[in-house]
């Protein structure tokens, strides 16, 4: 599926205090996609996001929104009205929840009669229905960030920028908000840029990943491509913690989901823990340390997933090796040096990869499309 490129940047550079803090050769944001900028603190995620949002003029380079090159202040001001941003801190105004959600609409000059139903709709969609008249100062962290998200979504932006929106929330509020945001991103199909240092967040929300280190994008690609095939040790340490597989739910019984992976000529069936509806497309993850390799199938084992395949790549990773396999679909496994020599693992070697159904976890059910 080809999609319109909404925002694109070439040779962006940002200098601060004489030092270069950002250098991005090329970045394209396609309509309807969620792009996650990932990296450790200080990698330049926020700087890149502020630059893409037109809030930080780059020292050099070009930024284009649709057919306009964002060059003058007037261009950036016009662009500012087509996008919006949610920060780590909710940054609510000292007034009611309803007036907070309406604040952007008021600034955009939307008449009051049109504001009210839109505010009520988005309060409901973010579970704030009963809090509209509450003072924003008296909200919990999760409620405050939901208000900030409602204030952003209600504007129907062309691009939604999310700068570490979950980082200051406690674990419980964070989980439910990630679920709801994933659903809303899928329902609205809004183009979004998310910055995060958490690979779980990115895996649950993004279609594409850009991994950043020291102000540069070190790898950019589809979610599964980057997660499954990190190009260098830094990216691997940051994201390569599990193999992502996409499949369609065949059955779901007693918390055990059976999925069909459609890759290559044969269908493969994988068993996973979780709840899903038959027919739903889901994304599951398997950690390489949970994948065991053997030379033949062991029928007496409790392992529910076993796939014959061939080794495609052996990558040394310090005390162990990462083995990439082609089982009709991609799979990665970690083995020790001893196993490597005992099993004679090298590219082309036929092995059986197995992992327990309890090692496969459901990552997401929403917002999956053909690009993923």
């Amino acid at each position: 599926m080809t999609r319109e490129t909404l925002l694109w940047a070439r040779n962006l550079q940002v200098h601060r205090g004489g030092a270069q803090v950002l250098e991005v050769a090329a970045l394209d944001l396609r309509s309807g996609e969620v792009l996650a900028l990932m990296g450790p603190n200080g990698a330049g995620k926020s700087t890149l996001m502020l630059t893409l949002a037109g809030l930080l003029p780059p020292t050099a380079g070009e930024l284009h929104f649709r057919d306009t090159r964002l060059q003058s202040r007037a261009d950036r001001d016009a662009f500012r009205r087509r996008m919006t941003m949610v920060f780590q801190d909710p940054l609510l105004f000292d007034t009611t929840v309803a007036q907070n959600i309406a604040s952007g609409l008021t600034l955009h000059g939307v008449p009051a009669a049109e504001r009210t139903p839109r505010v009520e709709e988005w309060a409901r969609r973010l579970g704030l229905g009963g809090l509209l008249d509450r003072s924003a100062k008296h909200l919990s962290g999760g409620e405050a960030q939901r208000t900030a998200l409602a204030r952003a979504f209600v504007l129907r932006p062309d691009i939604l920028f999310l700068d570490e929106p979950f980082s200051s929330l406690d674990a419980q509020a964070r989980e439910s908000l990630i679920d709801d945001l994933g659903r809303l991103l899928a329902e609205t199909g809004v183009t979004a840029v998310l910055s995060t240092h958490d690979q779980g967040e990115a895996a649950r929300l993004a279609h594409r990943l850009a991994i950043m280190q020291e102000g540069r994008i070190v790898q950019m690609g589809g979610l599964r491509e980057v997660m499954n095939h990190p190009e260098d040790p830094f990216v691997a340490a940051f994201v390569g913690m599990e193999t992502l597989l996409k499949g369609q739910v065949v059955t779901c019984r007693e918390g055990l989901v059976s999925l069909r992976l459609r890759k290559g000529p044969v269908d493969h069936e994988v068993l996973a823990l979780g709840e899903a509806q038959p027919g739903q497309t889901v994304l599951v993850g398997v950690r390489p340390e949970h994948v065991a390799l053997s030379l033949q199938t062991d029928n007496t084992s409790s392992v529910r997933n076993a796939f014959p395949g061939a080794v495609t790549k052996v990558i040394p990773r310090g005390p162990f090796f990462k083995i990439e396999l082609d089982c009709g679909f991609f799979l990665a496994a970690y083995v020790t040096a001893q196993s490597l020599s005992e099993l004679g693992l090298q590219p082309g070697r036929s092995v059986v990869a197995s992992f327990k159904a309890t090692s496969v976890h459901l990552i997401r059910k929403e917002g999956l499309d053909s690009e993923l």
Partner: protein
């Protein structure tokens, strides 16, 4: 002790009979200090906003100067304004020395740094990301400034109160640039000084009492505005 009771009795009498001279002095005080405060709100908040929202070399020096200006001694201001407005001074051609306008000018010089300094502190206390957040909600620059002022409204009203309190109660500048002329530049503080020096303590008490009530009423009004704007 008798003196105090006598003073309070006289004060009540002057108040209750609405003594025309006292009424005129009181209204002039209110008018002069009120206009001076309004001028200072415009100048002081303008200064606070431009310092808070812009980065420029010497910003720290400007902030230090503003903070020092918050403690400007009224007599020093009186001296400088007198010299400026003196017949042969640079602004002598205006011919406003010893008029209420001169007092307004001097009091604005006193209150502007107070409102600018406290206003700047109020704006700098807002979350640093708020400006960007307001811009990403589609605000123009004037809209952004307005929203920031609205967010800081509680400490800003406190700054206005401090400015008004500073000028309604000062005497040094008023007497130097106004001259305490009966019927034209006599205000509550300068009249109090004069009556005390003449030994008319009961009149001095009466004027002081009125001054206190005036300061209290204006601040009570501003406090009411400040607290009312708090959401539940």
């Amino acid at each position: 002790m008798d003196l105090i009771w006598e003073g309070l009795r006289k004060a009540l009498e002057l108040l209750l009979t609405l003594d025309p001279e006292v009424l005129r002095i009181t209204l002039l005080s209110l008018k002069v200090s009120g206009i001076a405060t309004l001028l200072s709100v415009v100048l002081g908040l303008g200064l606070a906003v431009s310092v808070a929202l812009n980065d420029f070399p010497g910003k720290r020096l400007v902030i230090a100067l503003l903070n020092t200006g918050m403690g400007l001694p009224p007599v020093v201001v009186g001296l400088f304004v007198t010299v400026l407005l003196w017949r042969n001074g640079p602004l002598g051609f205006l011919g406003i020395l010893y008029t209420p306008l001169a007092i307004i000018l001097a009091q604005a010089v006193i209150a502007t740094p107070i409102i600018a300094g406290l206003g700047l502190a109020a704006l700098q206390h807002l979350p640093p990301g708020l400006r960007l957040q307001i811009l990403t909600l589609g605000a123009t620059r004037p809209q952004m400034v307005w929203l920031l002022l609205k967010e800081a409204r509680l400490p800003l009203l406190a700054a206005v109160m401090a400015g008004f309190g500073g000028v309604i109660s000062e005497v040094g500048a008023s007497i130097m640039v106004g001259g305490n002329l009966k019927g034209s530049t006599r205000v509550l503080t300068t009249a109090t000084v004069m009556e005390t020096s003449r030994g008319n303590f009961e009149v001095a008490f009466a004027l002081s009492f009125i001054l206190l009530v005036l300061a209290f009423s204006v601040n009570a009004l501003l406090t009411h505005l400040q607290q009312r704007s708090r959401p539940r």
